[in-house]
Symmetry: C2
Subunit: 166 residues, 2 copies
Amino acid sequence: MTGLMRTPIDHHVLVDAVRSPRCGAVILLLGTVRELTGEQVTEFLDYEAYGPMAERKLAEIEADVRRRWVVGDVAIVHRLGRLEVGEVSVVLAVSSLHRREAFEAGQYAIDALKSLVPIWKKENAPGGVEGWVHQSAGRGLAVRTDTESSAFKFGGVGVAGRTGSP
Amino acid sequence: MTGLMRTPIDHHVLVDAVRSPRCGAVILLLGTVRELTGEQVTEFLDYEAYGPMAERKLAEIEADVRRRWVVGDVAIVHRLGRLEVGEVSVVLAVSSLHRREAFEAGQYAIDALKSLVPIWKKENAPGGVEGWVHQSAGRGLAVRTDTESSAFKFGGVGVAGRTGSP
């Protein structure tokens, strides 16, 4: 199962939902809002998505995982809206026969989510507001204030301009 | 934190315990009792450990993870005693700045646990009982009924023979 939610995601429910007597391993990944990115303080984050396309991409990632690995079940849910520091932005849960496949499938799925799914975040610092960036931008780098370049992630079709995201 | 428990492990508490505002990722791994290993049906499992050494090894693995990766917190807890199919035998939770380190540290820790910590399991099939094996033995292979060879995992010091495990 995959989806987008505007209310807190219950990761406890999701991790137990993918468990199965056929499986020997479950992996859960939580993405949580960090208070610091380098030296920049985050007060809260906003996440927005191009909904229909984001939901379609999440479902495609689940299907892709099921093609590539023998998994029991897969859950990928991303939160949207305003998130405070420490809150859970994304939950990924995968069960499989052995732990190796669960780790591999989990890493693949979260990497695919970060690079392929049209979800943007805006880091709100105490001193001011940064621009919206595609969430693949924030991997330990300073946050960019341009949103244009993230459109290239989607083959230059200009999704960033079509979503209505600020 | 690390430990051994004879009662069910609350993985929900552990995954939330390692969360931190300084961290952007949490990985949880659950090891669960499978009903099938190849074509062999498991009715229930028994886990036993050489307690003091197992606890020391678990603490060493946590220290090792903290030396090798910048992590927020680490929890590794293994269940002992009789476990029914579907129950959680081991819980590993790691938080870190970014997901990459959490995945790497998590995989390292669980591999180290499986090969270094003196915990044995006995698979109880409907038709009879298998012998005790070191838990590193069961990775998708038929379960061995000899326990002798698992002693080599500990440098040939014959831990298997000294533990009092049946």
